[in-house]
Symmetry: C2
Subunit: 367 residues, 2 copies
């Protein structure tokens, strides 16, 4: 990226270097920060003295009081300017969505495009980053194909379900007809500290009546809650809720807000699963506000404005960010035909790493 | 635990049931909370009406306005009382330590005791929970034995180093002598969202001069910082610091405070690795306070009062909570003899789950 942006001027204040880029924008960098980030191999965390000289242009050249010289490219500085406006501008762009938007904007790709080259892969991961989900079409329906797709992204995340898990139902002759009830939208593995990032659900066969997939953009619903019930939003972003999963040989628990923000107030994740909530453990005066806020959020998650419902056919795979997009399933009648999905997970660290590396390569290629 | 504690009296207020136990302590439970936590299989999140009757004793029996009856054991209620004092009392007990305390209180166990039965295993995991580390003695020095030990606890955590990794150095004939410098104490895999929990370092051979192990109780050092420099402590518990690991095929990043607290202000983890810190990205007026606080904390981490140094011999394995106890290594001279350690990780969710399940069984057995 060197050379794309130049430094028009740079001045020294007692604690900072003030930089103005050629496009008129500006940023300040503390001396101690600059010295800490000197790109040369020999220095980190050196002391900072009193005199410093500066030359600007395509680079910022600094000479420190001890004679050491540091050279920062203008582009690197622009990428690391640290005031809030700069940080917010660098955030990945998300498109929050409701069912209405999905009528015209459903993100989907073909399996062959994702598997054949980096362009298809980075396009797909970019859609996942933007919308929090993407449907992969025209996949072979062979057992385990979903693992091939997931491994295009990164290592599989193991869980108590195993690396590859089955969601399967077949008609049972001579049994009484029964109905598989609707699963309202939730996130998976809420009781673990790190909920899995990408979830893959690959449809091998879907011949039963009902059973449409449900996806809900948890960040869009959180924004709707903030708009309509700001006090509830504050409650859900600040009340720790414990989730717990217990079995004969497992007892895992994690406590975080249902709507979790990052340090700059951006959405970090949603953690939501009614069945795995542990008894609320907060101060007395936070109990009633929590239940009121939780109920309001739950109602919005089930609102037809946000609950996207669509049918997966054989060869379709829904892939979604389990920490943003909640998933569920409409009621279906297992007696009307077989239904078989295969699923797996990839951690957030791994899929974002893959996207960053691909974008790094793409930037390089474009130059 | 039923029957260990009884309820002396219970009264109903408009929103709560006020319980007094036989030992004189008390707690209040909101109606909505009780109904939400009704232990029967058929109800969750039912509405709460206006009339409720209560009977107390070994159990709290509630009859709801719709006729539904809920029965809570006194012990279960005592375990889930949710006011701050109750929550804090339920926290696992930790012993914060400095080098002085470790002269008389070094936690250690024998490999055979850990491997042979649940008593030895739960004792060992209890020491790890209390001190954040424990040395396992008299291990066979066969390749991969550390994996047997780790699998007594839970699944291995994979990483970019692989499941089993080597720390190995051998004298190189005819080469110029060189020195392997001291590695100051740090935590591992700081750039991943979930730092590994337990770290295992098994010594197969250690014939070189120097190279003593270093362990530092990060929570004890954080407490010392709070005591001596409370403003620095606030800075380090509230400033997000990004860590980043980049290689040709990886680009992983995570941002959390160096000292991270849980929702009740208890210590959650320390995340500290100079080499992997990304450029600080916080508002202008937080930069200088951060550097000052970080420097103070770094100095305390290297203070002989806190930096425990000891020699691992062949057959010793140091096991530590990577998110509490920082680790390092003194300088050593590779020309004086071979040095070979093998290591692996187990996630926090998994080792705490194992401990909870074992304690559940022990409670059961003791009754």
């Amino acid at each position: 990226m060197d050379g794309e942006v130049g430094i028009r001027s740079a001045g020294i204040t007692p604690h900072t270097v003030a930089v103005r880029w050629e496009d008129g924008t500006a940023a300040q960098f503390h001396h101690v920060w600059l010295r800490d980030n000197c790109p040369c191999t020999q220095c980190r965390h050196a002391e900072v003295g009193e005199r410093l000289s500066v030359e600007a242009g395509g680079h910022l050249d600094l000479t420190w009081p001890d004679g050491h010289r540091s050279r920062f490219s203008a582009a690197w500085l622009a990428q690391h300017a640290y005031e809030r406006d700069h940080r917010v501008a660098r955030r990945p762009q998300r498109t929050l969505w409701d069912t209405n938007r999905m009528r015209t904007e459903l993100p989907e790709v073909d399996f062959a495009d994702v598997m054949s080259g980096d362009d298809g892969l980075v396009h797909w991961l970019g859609l996942l980053r933007r919308y929090g989900f993407c449907i992969v079409r025209q996949m072979p329906t062979a057992d385990g194909t979903v693992l091939e797709l997931a491994r295009r992204v990164g290592n599989l995340r193991d869980s108590n379900f195993g690396l590859l898990w089955q969601v399967e139902s077949r008609p049972v002759p001579d049994s009484l007809a029964y109905t598989s009830v609707k699963l309202t939208a939730h996130t998976d593995l809420v009781s673990r500290e790190a909920q899995p990032g990408l979830q893959f659900l690959h449809c091998l066969v879907n011949d039963s009546t009902g059973g449409e997939s449900i996806l809900v953009d948890g960040f869009a619903v959180a924004e709707e809650l903030r708009r309509t019930e700001p006090a509830h939003w504050v409650t859900l972003t600040s009340t720790p809720v414990a989730f717990r999963y217990q079995s004969p040989d497992t007892d895992v628990s994690a406590a975080f807000p249902v709507i979790r923000l990052d340090a700059d107030g951006g959405y970090y994740e949603v953690r939501y699963s009614n069945a795995l909530m542990a008894p609320l453990a907060v101060d007395h005066d936070r109990v009633l506000p929590f239940y009121a806020a939780y109920r309001a959020f739950s109602e919005l998650l089930r609102d037809p404005r946000f609950e996207l419902s669509f049918r997966l056919g054989a060869g379709d795979c829904e892939v979604f960010d389990n920490r943003r997009v909640l998933h569920g399933r409409q009621e279906f009648d297992p007696q009307t035909g077989p239904r078989h999905l295969q699923g797996c997970y990839v951690d957030t660290d791994d899929w974002l790493s893959r996207l960053r590396v691909l974008q790094r390569t793409q930037d390089f290629r474009l130059r």
